[in-house]
């Protein structure tokens, strides 16, 4: 029965329950993902961000915190132009990483 109201789910992240098995597999093929320092250069230089809300920084963080649905959804706003990989100070090949994420998480 629908009473027309619900308790909003807590936004808290419980790190104990986060399932990172897919992230760990990603880390194996793209170890550089762990080097991200969340500087935001990728998002700031992304031409798609303004229109689609795409942010590579957020995608990486979401994956690391076990929020893969959100990450994969956001990635649909990427047009694979590769601008972000030119600016990453940690030398992460973000474009390559995006393709790896699509492959791995798309399978799932």
């Amino acid at each position: 029965m629908d009473f027309g109201f619900k308790i909003s789910p807590s936004s808290a992240v419980n790190l104990d329950n986060v399932d990172l098995s897919l992230y760990d597999r990603l880390h194996e093929v793209e170890p550089d993902i762990a080097k991200c320092i969340a500087c935001g250069s990728c998002s700031a230089s992304c031409p798609a961000g303004r229109f689609s809300g795409m942010s590579m920084r957020k995608v990486i963080l979401d994956l690391q915190r076990g929020r893969q649905k959100e990450a994969v959804k956001m990635l649909s706003g990427c047009m694979l132009c590769g601008k972000c990989l030119m600016v990453c100070p940690r030398g992460i090949n973000t474009r390559h990483l995006i393709l790896a994420i699509c492959k791995l998480y798309g399978e799932d």
């Binding site: 936004s11 808290a12 992240v13 419980n14 790190l15 104990d16 880390h27 170890p31 550089d32 762990a34 080097k35 969340a38 957020k58 963080l61 979401d62 690391q64 915190r65 940690r90």
Partner: protein, 349 residues
């Protein structure tokens, strides 16, 4: 006669200065309040950035200073100012006349039990950076089980950058120490999940950033930007740690078997007392105040009194050693200028 130079503190700064002063032909006298030489470094296990055994560093320094007069378990009782020198009374009854004193009194580790919300001394699985180094050395600590923790965390900035703890300064070496210790724990317990809770990561020194990258990439240490707000214990006796993941703007909670608090570096209160006997000023950060923080860091504002090492603020081992050498050279120059003064005075008569 060889000139006496009184060195207060037999840590690495005092030892290195003594060995340089011996080479320059002086008579350094080290007064150390504890029962052994080496100061804090004698408690550490392996040193960043190259994982050099601390014991090697200390024993090399002790050997270099072995010709010096060394008083262990001794403190300064009082100091009398004479016409052009000091008469220093030691707690063992010895009195020393000297024109020159070197403070190499180092620092104190912040008392982590003062941050009650982190549960040091309350919960069984909370330890400090210093406790963990001791465990690396001895292998004995009831807080670490044989199979090791399955999840553990490091809390940065404990008693540093914290006005509530009355220390707004950054202790400088604890970020890199946390990363070093996290890697060491991961090497010992590869299956452990390791978190670092930080506000900023300050990787200022040679190769520190490489350490950080390696901790992320090769060891999978998880860095969470957010200050731990509180630690509690659940019914199973495990620690529950709460913080905000400020990068995602969400609160995070995690259950851990072990928590290491990165206690900060603060000025030693006894040093302040000894400095008080000589009316030496403290700087606004609570450490001994140099004559000039840019050009004259090893000189006190008082003639004949010098500083080396962490007594003027947080420092790494190489920085401390470089300062000790520089203080020895300053002392040498000072002694030369004293004897030139003496000569020109006597010629004038």
């Amino acid at each position: 006669m060889k000139e006496n130079i009184l060195i207060i503190g037999g840590g690495i700064a005092g030892l290195e200065a003594a060995s340089q002063l011996l080479k320059l032909g002086y008579n350094p006298i080290i007064v150390e309040r504890s029962g052994r030489l080496g100061g804090h470094v004698a408690d550490w296990n392996r040193l960043f950035p190259d994982m050099t055994p601390a014991e090697e560093v200390v024993s090399r320094l002790v050997a270099g200073a072995s010709e010096a007069n060394i008083f262990l378990n001794t403190e300064i009782s009082f100091i009398n100012r004479l016409k052009d020198s000091y008469n220093v009374m030691l707690s063992n009854g010895v009195s020393i006349i000297t024109k020159i004193m070197l403070f190499a009194t180092g620092f104190s580790l912040f008392d982590a039990s003062k941050k009650e919300e982190y549960g040091y001394g309350v919960y069984n699985q909370v330890m400090t950076n210093s406790d963990l180094e001791r465990w690396f050395n001895t292998g004995h600590d009831c807080r670490i089980t044989e199979e090791g923790p399955s999840a553990m965390g490091f809390v940065h900035c404990v008693g540093s950058r914290d006005e509530k703890a009355r220390n707004s300064q950054c202790s400088k070496v604890c970020c890199i120490t946390a990363v070093k210790q996290a890697i060491e724990m991961k090497q010992k317990f590869p299956d452990a999940m390791i978190y670092c809770f930080y506000m900023d990561l300050r990787m200022f020194g040679k190769k520190f950033e490489d350490f950080y990258i390696s901790a992320q990439r090769d060891y999978g240490i998880r860095f969470i930007r957010g200050r731990v707000s509180e630690v509690s214990e659940n019914i199973e006796g495990k620690l529950v740690v709460k913080a905000e993941d400020t990068l995602s703007g969400r609160p995070v909670k995690v259950t851990l078997d072990l928590l290491v608090l990165m206690s900060g570096i603060v000025c030693d209160h006894q040093t302040c007392r000894t400095a008080g006997m000589l009316s030496l000023p403290l700087d606004s950060d609570g450490f001994l105040k140099s004559r000039d923080n840019i050009a004259d860091i090893t000189a006190s504002p008082k003639e004949g009194i010098f500083y080396a090492g962490a007594c003027t603020g947080p420092k790494t081992v190489p920085e401390t050693l470089a300062e000790a050498r520089s203080a020895a050279l300053e002392i040498h120059n000072h002694i030369i200028s004293l004897s030139e003064e003496l000569n020109s005075n006597s010629e004038g008569q």
